[in-house]
Symmetry: C2
Subunit: 447 residues, 2 copies
Amino acid sequence: MKFVIIGGDAAGMSAASRAKRSVPEMEVIVLEKSEDVSYSACGMPYNIADADRDIDDLVVRTAGVFRNKQGIDLFTGCCAEAIDVKNGAVTGTIDNRESFRFFYDRLLIATGGRPIIPDLPGFDHPGVVALKSLADGRRIKNYIKDNDVKKAVIIGMGYVGLEMAEALRARSIEVEMVKPGPDLLPWMPRELAAEVRRELDANQARLHLGCEIKGIDKTADHLHIVCNDRILAADMVLVAIGIEPNSQLAADAGIETGVGSAIAVNHKLQTSNEAVYAAGDCADAYHVVTGQKTWIPLALRANRAGWAVADNVCGKETSLEGVAGTAVFKVFNLEVARTGLSLEESRRCGFEPVDVTINSRSRAHAHPGAQPIWVNLIGDRRTGRLLGTQMVGREGVAHRINAAAVALQAQMSVKAFSETDLAYAPPFGPVWDPLLTAANQLLKKMT
Amino acid sequence: MKFVIIGGDAAGMSAASRAKRSVPEMEVIVLEKSEDVSYSACGMPYNIADADRDIDDLVVRTAGVFRNKQGIDLFTGCCAEAIDVKNGAVTGTIDNRESFRFFYDRLLIATGGRPIIPDLPGFDHPGVVALKSLADGRRIKNYIKDNDVKKAVIIGMGYVGLEMAEALRARSIEVEMVKPGPDLLPWMPRELAAEVRRELDANQARLHLGCEIKGIDKTADHLHIVCNDRILAADMVLVAIGIEPNSQLAADAGIETGVGSAIAVNHKLQTSNEAVYAAGDCADAYHVVTGQKTWIPLALRANRAGWAVADNVCGKETSLEGVAGTAVFKVFNLEVARTGLSLEESRRCGFEPVDVTINSRSRAHAHPGAQPIWVNLIGDRRTGRLLGTQMVGREGVAHRINAAAVALQAQMSVKAFSETDLAYAPPFGPVWDPLLTAANQLLKKMT
């Protein structure tokens, strides 16, 4: 059995390692276009925040370990260019020179995603950067050092943009953030987004909302981000407006793509071609709340899907439940988390959503150091089901969201969730956990 | 409708407030034997830790507010002595002088629990204290101040004992802890208990395990706690060996008691007499894992059961799901949490338990400040169900436990739990949450 994997990041290397562990005699071949495999991509903003830390600290396992200790045929600098599904082969070039062809019995496409770069003038300047791969992180760190960056503009206000705002402020770099839309975190209720806004303001990250970007001009000293109504000057521009799946290779081979142009996979992670699997940021998934396809590129899913593919390839049939879209990020000293659907998504998916937003505390009555916690909870009036939740606070948010994530996975009703037996001790929250208070109030609104 | 409530603590006052809010014309009478109602009992150790804080900071609502603003007929200093279920009446004495008789249409017994005090010589000394009521907290604070307590012995090593060890050490009081049993936290796997032990050692709380206590002697300067093999000297002795339900009043009235002598209630919180309800630390509950009766006195359940009784009394029929026994406590800088059954309890309840103990980290690979997190996870080999979990760590334990608590409520299998979509960001944990790593390893052991 020959198992070929295109892409040596989270999904690809998880699959390779697990397959080789399960069936040591299996030939496992990984084709990775960059030189880096197995690193903590999400850790990059925190590494960039510290000038003294080496970006390679983020490497979990080197290519050498995979090759020599695990016996995986890992080829870096190896760019897959075409999949021949009829003959079961992948062709491409190594180090931009030699061409290769690998035959496979089973193929995993784990090509990941890539940052969206607007097709506008000036975005090809070396001071205009994006953050996805370890090479990107390295480039940003070097650029900051070599050019003594004092001022940065971040285009986009998603979680990568926000994490990078914190990272750059930690290095005393002036930060301005700009986006065309009128709202910060538009999927959030306004009360929660206002908290995030306050935290950004307090940390001198200046926001420019509703600014359409026309292009970037290079002057002698600066990059000028030209917007419809203003010009922002910077030494470096970070483009963080989102990512898109690397699914073209699959599409060119006639493999079906779906939501957000991601590669369509079934619960076993098989594509429309049963010998070909897809996993990670390039593949879609079922949403546990809607049962419908969704594309939410997240690290845990990539790792888990990689394992599931390996199990299926090794003959241990495995189906994966869907995703709840659980995510958490830190914005300076604020924890921001979500799971499930937002109000708008709930409506779009045909639910009859009712939501409630409450403000509770991170510690018990009279316990010193309590901080506000905001919770937004959404239920479906028709079925009584819990649909989603979002939280913002200075402590106790990041892990609290998981209680709701598990409830979504279990398709719990708001009523059942309101009756869950959550932990209580004064240093960690009120007797009625903020999630329960929100559930109790939501129940009242729903009935 | 006349609704009489015996006991004005968490369950009693929750029921009174909710009933009066639902049906303002209802006559709601609360008979409380002490002078204190509605205070954060669990906050007492943290208040005692700070000599400058007034114990009354813990009062959430005063008797006056309940009387004047909420219109509840709240009688303090009012000790119920007998329930006449035939005639629907409660009799007793007010302020140890006048006797009273109140007729009821519906009665709630919310008499709570009381600390177990061993029937041994010397335990009646004023320097031998226990911590349950606000009066107890007040007494302890005053005793420490008036007697300039420098050295305390805590009998018992449950969570009240451990929280008080931290509180007393915060006031630079020498602390020794003693118990007859050989193990610290015997319901815990040894690796986790060892972590707690290390934290106690690091904070100079000295433990004496396996010491049978024979009595307390009073000398000129000290209290001497006389054990089988040693004598411990102290200025104050805290008895914290557990609580028992105040169910005698109910039992004397012919109302059924069950597990741990707690008052037996059905899912509607009704006792064996359908006009009489019981809630809070005096009442039992169904366990969500076993479906069997259990007695786990915890604050959230008391509040929730109080509300459910009010709803039932007000004609809004309400059944409560069971409890999972979710609890968290802080031991100095350690967070200790559990939910569901321990290994020993699982065996006793007829399951075929398999458990795994793992050591993970509180933050991602290469993220600064990561601390170890210990997780013990238990599943049932026969049904595949998740039975319980325990965690110990310096951060990220208190709320993490709730993900497992929700899973227990949903009767999830270990497999389903292992597939939940939990949040990930480097400052808050590894890609595979410690709970998921434990679930993955447990699955391997179970199959």
